[in-house]
């Protein structure tokens, strides 16, 4: 219940002469309410942004408060025990036949002679590593490598990026595919030895695209997988290592400097973060089985010869494998951050374009060529404008101007609501502008395009979602302001929310009818 003094004041307010009677005077008054009170040292844009952010911050602060209250009132949801883990999938070994077992025993016996802790797995690893090295040497022959060395090139780089080819009995490529591999390798070796960047460019593009297509998972680094794929993993790791050498090489560096920035960022994130743990997992897992990956042979240095030293290497390998999921996550985060930055770089220009379009719209409306525009002119909107923003302010203004008697009765509160409504619409314009800009940038990328396009499109989509989330609270708020104005000026029923809003804005509980459900 309101006190007697307050009731008297309300009655006085209702009885006081209507100060604003002429529509023209009222329009001037409403126009004055549209003005932003810009504090010294602040621009209009900053003031508008601060107004909008204050509303968003209020929503965030209340939600945080509610969450804190909930945590005091309720226990934490207790379902932690049911959380599914993410077990590393390992390929189950196939059942072995008697013949296969005998073969494995034979291989294990041979392997043990080379290194006391080696077994049939070690044998297969060495076979795999040697076969790929031999294949590469089919293209990167000692003569070719000597040519590279004489030209000041890095023979490891030259060899690692060769595919190699399979030969027939006469030493020629086995088929057309193998011939293509040979020709491609020879072209690469020639171009590299000649320091010819133009000829190297298609090869460099191929290497970059290949590395970007790599997907490193924990299960491919387990001993069971390396038994079959050690050479493939080693080749991937070598290429990831030596692409960095190519980036540093003064001859090939310009290629990388001119590479699509997102592609370069993805390449660097992947190689910087993954090469180490992946290489370490490969080397230690093979070492735990008496295999020296770099030599493509059994470890003959005496480093790993006892079960204890093998266990130590295995522990290292296990901890490296356990890191892989986390590293993939870090790469994703780094790629997202790079994409975010590239999207943000484009935004100022797009904002400028949309602002210019909005300025045209505003200018057209202010010219008042049509009846609709005359109604909407003078809305005093300073930010990015849409038809909706103009209509909303014009509707509110028209409502006030067509109910001058009721306005006189509630002038103080109507002024306050109109001012809030106007400033909210104006502040909303900045966020609407952002959503349009992010949408525009997102639409520039093909959803079914390359990995890089997809990454950039996702980044723009994330930013669009965030901007849209900021926009969401405004609609119900503006609806409440309009409903409050309609109630005060036209009368009618009063909902709970509008009633509470009016109380929040200074009306007395006792002056309002009960809310209708």
């Amino acid at each position: 219940m309101a006190g007697t003094d307050e009731l008297t004041k309300t009655k006085e307010k209702q009885a006081e002469p209507i100060a604003v009677q002429k529509a023209e005077t009222l329009r001037e008054h409403l126009t004055s309410l549209q003005q932003w009170n810009v504090p010294a040292g602040q621009t209009l844009e900053e003031t508008r942004r601060a107004f909008g952010e204050a509303e968003e911050q209020r929503s965030i602060a209340i939600t945080q408060r509610l969450r804190a209250n909930a945590q005091q009132q309720l226990p934490p949801a207790n379902a932690a025990a049911a959380a599914p883990g993410a077990p590393v999938q390992q390929q189950a070994p196939a059942k072995k036949s008697y013949k296969q077992r005998r073969k494995e025993e034979k291989h294990a016996k041979y392997a043990r002679k080379q290194n006391p802790i080696a077994d049939s797995t070690s044998y297969d690893m060495v076979e795999s590593l040697q076969s790929v090295r031999q294949l590469q040497l089919s293209s990167a022959t000692p003569e070719q490598l000597a040519r590279v060395q004489n030209a000041g090139g890095d023979t490891r780089v030259a060899r690692v990026f060769c595919t190699g080819y399979r030969k027939d009995k006469k030493g020629n490529p086995l088929d057309d595919n193998q011939r293509r591999f040979r020709d491609r390798d020879l072209d690469w070796l020639d171009a590299y030895a000649a320091h010819d960047l133009q000829r190297m460019t298609p090869h460099l593009n191929r290497f970059v695209n290949e590395i970007l297509s790599y997907k490193v998972t924990p299960d491919m680094l387990t001993a069971e997988s390396l038994r079959r794929n050690a050479a493939k993993v080693k080749l991937m790791n070598d290429r990831m290592t030596y692409i960095e050498n190519l980036q540093r090489d003064p001859v090939t560096a310009p290629f990388f400097q001119q590479l699509d920035p997102i592609k370069l960022a993805m390449l660097n994130n992947f190689t910087n973060l993954m090469t180490g743990p992946m290489g370490m997992a490969l080397v230690t897992n093979c070492a735990a089985r008496g295999v020296n990956v770099n030599q493509a042979d059994y470890d003959r240095t005496g480093t790993v010869t006892t079960p204890a030293s093998a266990r130590s290497y295995q522990d290292n390998a296990d901890s490296c494998i356990a890191m892989i999921d986390g590293v993939n996550q870090q790469i994703k985060q780094a790629n997202d951050a790079a994409a975010d930055a590239l999207i943000e770089q484009q935004i100022p220009d797009v904002l400028r374009m949309f602002r210019e379009q909005a300025d045209d719209t505003r200018a057209d409306i202010e010219l008042g060529k049509t009846e609709r525009d005359r109604k909407r002119a003078g809305a005093g909107l300073t930010s990015y404008v849409t038809e909706y923003s103009f209509d909303l302010v014009a509707d509110a203004r028209e409502l006030i101007e067509s109910h001058t008697t009721e306005y006189g009765q509630h002038r103080e509160i109507v002024d306050k609501i109109y001012e809030q409504l106007h400033h909210t619409v104006d502040a909303m314009g900045d966020i609407t502008l952002l959503t349009r800009a992010y949408q525009y940038v997102q639409d520039g990328y093909d959803a079914f395009g390359s990995k890089e396009e997809s990454l950039l499109r996702s980044a723009a989509g994330r930013k669009l979602l965030a901007a849209e989330a900021r926009l969401r609270p405004y609609t119900p708020l503006l609806g409440s302001y309009m409903s409050a104005l309609k109630f005060l000026l036209r009368g009618g029923s009063l909902g709970h929310f509008v009633r509470d809003l009016l109380i929040q804005m200074g009306m007395k509980d006792a002056d309002l009818p009960p809310a209708e459900e």
Partner: protein
């Protein structure tokens, strides 16, 4: 059944029970308030939401099918209401969703029984029908297109951007999605072009995942242009789309709503927006409907 507060730590268990956006906010430690429903250490329901303006907007509410009709949904709402009542600074709860599945109908009944009132949108809604039903309307009995009607696919991006700018200036209720966006169906969307300028538009959009007539604007071409455009689109709709494909029409003004209701009497409005005051939500003391419809 028990209610608890969801934190990031237990999100892996509950994430399937939350809409992706709510789960992502919780994952990012943004500020949704999220509650979980459990039984025998098994997650079986969740509610999430946050303040939007002056209302607490429920952004996700779900109870697993096997655990429904046992009061779990009411428990979630009751726990939320307790938190809001204790706070005292929030006076309403809103929930918005599209009603496209039978379980959404159940949700409507559930909300109505627990103090929520559906907000009247005066017909400004999304209307859902099928391509077959739409084409069966007498309005589309004739599907001939006039010579000046052009598909968007026949117009350049620059022409579409110019058309968008002109249409916005002329007050066209264009969708938020730009006309050059890939979610716009350029084969179905059509424009009436005269002297190089776009005079009227019919825009078909797929941004919400469903084929939607997002805007039909007769512009400066006069009301007769609209039937001409829509019938041209209908001809292509009949050629390239299955009769049972869902088809939505968005009515953004009351005039458009009346038009949709007249032309497509079988189309159902699907957007729902419910609001309840905190006071009208279920209270803890009441053991009202433990076996209610949730």
């Amino acid at each position: 059944m028990e209610i608890g507060v969801l934190t990031r730590e237990v999100l892996p268990v509950f994430s399937t029970l939350l809409l992706p956006e709510a789960a992502a906010q919780l994952e990012a430690d943004e500020p949704p308030l999220a509650l979980g429903l459990t039984e025998d250490n098994l997650a079986c329901g969740a509610l999430a939401g946050r303040m939007e303006g002056d209302l607490f907007a429920v952004t996700s509410l779900f109870v697993a099918p096997d655990y429904r009709r046992r009061g779990g949904g009411t428990m979630l709402l009751r726990a939320l209401a307790d938190v809001l009542r204790a706070d005292g600074g929030v006076f309403g709860v809103s929930i918005a969703f599209n009603c496209t599945l039978p379980e959404h109908e159940t949700l409507c009944a559930f909300l109505a029984a627990r103090g929520f009132a559906e907000q009247d949108d005066h017909g400004e809604n999304i209307y859902l029908t099928t391509v077959g039903e739409a084409l069966a309307s007498p309005f589309f009995a004739s599907r001939s297109a006039g010579g000046a009607v052009r598909r968007f696919s026949e117009l350049s991006d620059a022409a579409l951007r110019a058309a968008e700018r002109d249409a916005l200036r002329a007050g066209a209720p264009l969708p938020e999605t730009p006309l050059v966006s890939e979610s716009i169906d350029r084969e179905l969307s059509a424009a009436l072009v005269e002297n190089g300028g776009v005079k009227a538009l019919a825009v078909f959009d797929r941004s919400c995942g469903c084929l939607t007539l997002a805007c039909a604007w007769s512009g400066t071409a006069g009301p007769a242009a609209l039937p001409q455009l829509l019938r041209a689109s209908a001809a292509r709709l009949a050629e390239a789309h299955a009769a049972d494909e869902p088809f939505a029409v968005q009515a953004v003004t009351q005039e458009a709503a009346r038009l949709v209701q007249a032309l497509l009497p079988g189309a159902k409005p699907i957007s729902r927006y419910y609001i309840a005051s905190v006071q009208s939500l279920p209270e803890s003391e009441k053991e009202d409907d433990v076996h209610g419809g949730d």
